[in-house]
Structures are given as structure tokens and as C-alpha cells.
Amino acid sequence: MKQIAFASGKGGAGKTSVASAFFKYYKGSKILADCDVDASNCFITMEEKNLSSEKFHSGKKYSVNKDKCIGNGICVERCVYNAIKKEDKKYKIIDIKCEGCGSCLDACPAGAIEENSNYCGNLYFSESVDNSKLYYAKLFPGEDNSGKLIFTLKQKTIAYSKENNIENIIIDSPPGIGCPAIASLVGVKFLILVLEATQSGFHDAKNLIELAKSKKIKTFALINKSGVNQELENEIKRFLKTENIELIGEIPFNKEFAKLLKAKKLITDISDEKYKDNLFSIFNKINNILGG
């Protein structure tokens, strides 16, 4: 079983667009794990049919038991997030503002604060039109992505793959290089770095390259939205060379992509045949990476 991740460091660089188009294109034994759960969107283009779902809990949330509250307001003084307000001489925790630190629980002499596990989103298991399966999650508004959620999602994908002899796990990684991104890269063999040809895209890609190196993941680069800033692209290419990272292709900037995505289509549905051929030749290279 092999794991291949599409990641970029920067958000909006084109990870999901590339990963979901490649997933549809790839004819081998496959499963998708959409780990970009802040904006889980691979499923939109998959015409998926949901097979099952479950609740996901992470961290703690607190509430005030009104019968026990003595109204001394110590909790308000302790709460650095201003998440507690007064209501009819008693106190109330505003859910969306509560960060789950538990200071109020420690502070309350009356024992009026109750601790609950935080139900923050759902995990889904679905089937796409070509019968391949995908796991993804949706967080509720205001909830943080976490290493734990990505870990849980990946464990489920790995368990299903082992049971059903699925050979390749294709991962759409979350942006950044923090806990969620690190968790998405555990056990990954190959990384397709979708590098947006902008200053911020380049900067964040460098961070991700460092992370991949520390985890000894073989990295391949793909420059997205190219043709806008030649000077920067040359600099990116020089950098990739010094890092010994193979450049497997470039996807030129194209306004039609936005229209396609709005219509729930994939980037490979583009009308320009030359453009399409370029994408397919990139996907063939990824195909070979998986085969090797």
C-alpha cells in the first residue's frame, strides 16, 4: 500500500483541483482521503453517494449549570477569550467564543462549570461514480482542524484499504505545515508539491519542502498558475534544482478553471485540447511515480 499526498503549503494553490482530477484520471487501485477538512471539497466533483457518516469529537467545551451558579463572576475574570456573559444574575458561556481552555472550571468555587467533549464535525465515507471510495470530513463553522481529526480520517482510510486490498491512497493535504499537515503526511511515500507561482506560494512551498525532508518523503514539484511572473518562475526552478526536486510539469494560468470549478467540473474538462494534453502528460508522470 502506497500513500501519495498533494500538498502546497499555501492554501488556494491548486491542491484539490489537481488531486481530484488526478483521482478521476487514475485507473489503478485507489482510494481518496480528503484531509483538507477546513474546506473539504474533493467530493463536490465526484458525484458521490454517501455510504456512512459518524460524529467527530475533539477538545472540550464548557457550560454553566444555572442551578449551581452563585453569580460571583470569577469565571468572567479568568476567561481571556471574553466568552462568558452575565444573564439574569447568572453566567453563560458563549459557545462560539469558548476556546476550551478550562480556566473557568478551575476557577469556579461552586463547581457550576460542566465539561463536555466537543462535537465539532462529521466524518463521511462515500462512493464516487467510478465506484472508488473516498473519506472526508466536514467541520462545523468556527471549529479548528486538528492533527487528531486527520489522523482518525487516515486510520479509517488505511483500515479500509487493508481490508479491501486497495493499493494507493491519494491524499489531499490541508494547507500549512502545522499539526494537520504533519498528520496528513505520516506514512506518505510520495509528495506532489503543487507550487503556486507567486511569492507567497513559493515561500510556503519552501516550508513544506523542509517538512517533507524531515519526514524523508520523496517530493516532486508541479508549478501551477505559471506564465504570469517569468522571473519568479526561473527563481523557483533554480531552487528546485538545488533541492534535487524533480519538476514534473507546469499548469499555465487559465481563467477557465474558475468557471469549470463553479460548474462542479474538473480541470481536465477544459475545452482547450492542448491544455488537456499537458494535464494528462503530468498525470502520466504521477502514474509512473506510483508504479515505481
Binding site: 475533539s58 477538545g59 479548528d144 486538528s146 492533527g147 487528531k148 481529526l149 489522523f151 488505511i158 502545522g178 499539526c179 504533519i182 498528520a183 505520516v186 506514512g187 523542509e210 517538512l211 524531515s214 519526514k215 524523508k216
Partner: protein
């Protein structure tokens, strides 16, 4: 000398460091085996790697043999004298200990 190996089933090395279920500690002099539970860190929303490493180093270990190691946990361990050995296959803990003792790792 004490060798620590992350594990989920006490038999094989785990695929992850920070979110493994436990550590198997093997004392090469006394041949004693100890299990350090890691379930609390395993369920942390974030920071599992750092917490796991911080707790683990309190056990007077000399060597860690691991398949995975995140950058943050690595930073914690690099501040200590503990030797970290990376392996690239999921293997049985017994074999890893033997290999290490025979200088094969």
C-alpha cells in the same frame, strides 16, 4: 541501556510516533520490558508529537527506534542525548531490538 519503540500492539513498531498507543521500553542489561502508555497524548487535538516526546524522555531512555518522527517531536529529542534511529519498514519489535544489538541498524 534502554531502547524505546513506539507501538500500537506491543508487537510491531507503530506507523506514527506522536499518536502511537504506547512505547515498549527494553532494558538491554536486565532484559526487562516496560510499557509506557501514550493513550492520553494520542487523543490530543494538536501537539501530540511534542507531548509524546516530552513525556517519553522522562523515562531515562538512551535510544529510540521509530518509523515516523514529526519535526516538532524531533526538535524536543534533539535537545537531549537520546539517539534516534529511523527505520523505513514496519517490523517486529523483537527483530528491531536484535538488529540494534547486532549493530545492524
Amino acid at each position: 541501556m534502554v531502547i524505546a519503540i513506539p507501538s500500537d500492539n506491543k508487537e510491531h513498531v507503530a506507523e506514527t510516533f506522536g499518536r502511537c498507543k504506547c512505547f515498549v521500553l527494553y532494558n538491554t542489561e536486565t532484559k526487562e520490558i516496560n510499557i509506557v502508555d501514550n493513550s492520553a497524548n494520542m487523543n490530543l487535538g494538536s501537539g501530540a508529537g511534542i507531548q509524546t516526546a516530552t513525556n517519553l524522555i522522562k523515562n531515562n531512555i538512551d535510544v529510540i527506534i521509530t518509523y515516523d518522527l514529526g519535526p516538532k517531536a524531533n526538535k524536543v529529542l534533539s535537545e537531549t542525548k537520546i539517539k534516534v534511529i529511523h527505520i523505513d519498514k514496519i517490523e517486529k519489535i523483537d527483530n528491531l531490538v536484535d538488529d540494534y544489538m547486532n549493530g545492524k541498524l
